[in-house]
Symmetry: C2
DNA sequence: CGCGTCTGACTGACGCGTCGATCATTTAGC
DNA sequence: GCTAAATGATCGACGCGTCAGTCAGACGCG
């Protein structure tokens, strides 16, 4: 795969194709994206797309990787300056809320990625590589909080399983337009999970502070 | 839609087509199912499929409805004889665990349904109709438990949001082959949610009993 | 500097396989 | 013998991938 999908020519053009491809996938869906559509957005021809990528599937898979990598880098930068573990978790949650178009599109990509992975086990390795990063981010933040003495000693892996499951499930509800879930109630639910499972105080601790930090 | 998809002829043949279609969708994916494939399983021709359904999309959408309805009926029957609210919830969870091929396929259908609904808002009404049933089942069971005096007076809707989100998220992890989630840890996680949010005792109550009932 | 050559990005019309849908025809039931 | 049910060859649209060709700029050489 490395040499097959390794781009020829200038990487800016190649990136332009990927940058055009992934929002298209997010909005129309993997199976409804035509090579012609990507070419049109880049202001180029279908031949050019095939000049940089062997086939349509390669464009789409690379676009997937591109999108996930971009998001991961963005999150990493945002978290770098936050020391307090609780605030890191809250910031992590805040960045996952499908509020803007960007994050909504990223969730759409994930949803489709899940579907394809479920149908085609060959994608599992790639998927789990991506997903593990996000899960590890939670686990490491919990451990940090426990070292800082602001979190109870809950099993970090078990907690991360719960938090990420609830996050994914809630995002689905929002994307599908479920009437009983909104961005606000998603935030509230996730913050509540943190309070319930990590807080030192039995009643859940500083809810008010959490809500404020969550909106930052 | 009503008259367009309303079947002609004997309903057994029509149902046979749907019965053949939905596992095919679950295993190969909506977009990879050919009319020819469905016909082949039924031991019939593509013409017959089009005799009962106007187009391919109609077959697939009806198959979706068929699958969801069947599952809902099955669950309703299983729950009918269970009086105790906690045992009802545990049974509900147990039936959602993607352990066998049947339930796995149903989750695959849901996953694809979510994806399509996210991409095509016209499906939202249908999707929310289906989803609401499952959410209501949880809400009503919680209320029942509160009337029975075995559940704390947590907000049933908020609780249902959490439980269903976590369920959906956990199922996705299992279907995508995530290394840190198994059927057992999914069960454990969901039972733990019940204990934490509904149990009368502060420590979570009868975990042992719950685990046993869960396997029934 | 000027000329010829070469390379490599880019084009877009076309071939070809695929698949949904059609419809003339056959078969079965009453 | 009439109607409903079922067939499957055939049509036509669609879209991926190919490939012969264009063009601009780099390069070498006198």
């Amino acid at each position: 795969m490395t040499e097959a999908t390794e781009g020829r020519g200038k990487p800016d053009r190649r990136n332009a194709i990927l940058e055009a491809a992934w929002p298209l996938i997010a909005e129309r869906g993997y199976h409804h994206v035509r090579v012609q559509d990507i070419a049109a957005i880049c202001g180029t021809s279908t031949g050019t797309i095939h000049y940089y990528f062997p086939g349509k599937d390669d464009v789409l898979q690379e676009a997937l990787r591109y999108c996930v990598d971009q998001a991961f880098i963005r999150q990493g930068e945002a978290l770098r300056q936050i020391e307090n573990a609780r605030k890191r978790l809250l910031a992590l949650i805040e960045m996952q809320l499908p509020a803007g178009v960007q994050v909504r599109n990223e969730w759409s990509i994930w949803l489709q990625f899940w579907t394809e992975t479920c149908l085609n086990p060959e994608l599992r390795a790639l998927h789990n590589d991506f997903y593990e990063r996000w899960l590890d981010a939670v686990v490491r933040t919990v451990r940090r909080g426990q070292r800082q003495g602001i979190f109870r000693d809950t099993d970090p892996v078990v907690f991360a399983r719960l938090l990420t499951s609830a996050t994914d499930g809630a995002a689905i509800k929002i994307l599908t337009g479920a009437p009983n879930m909104s961005v606000d109630s998603m935030r509230q639910m996730l913050v509540n999970i943190i309070d319930t499972h990590l807080s030192l105080l039995p009643d859940g601790g500083t809810r008010a502070e959490a809500a404020v930090a969550g909106r930052a």
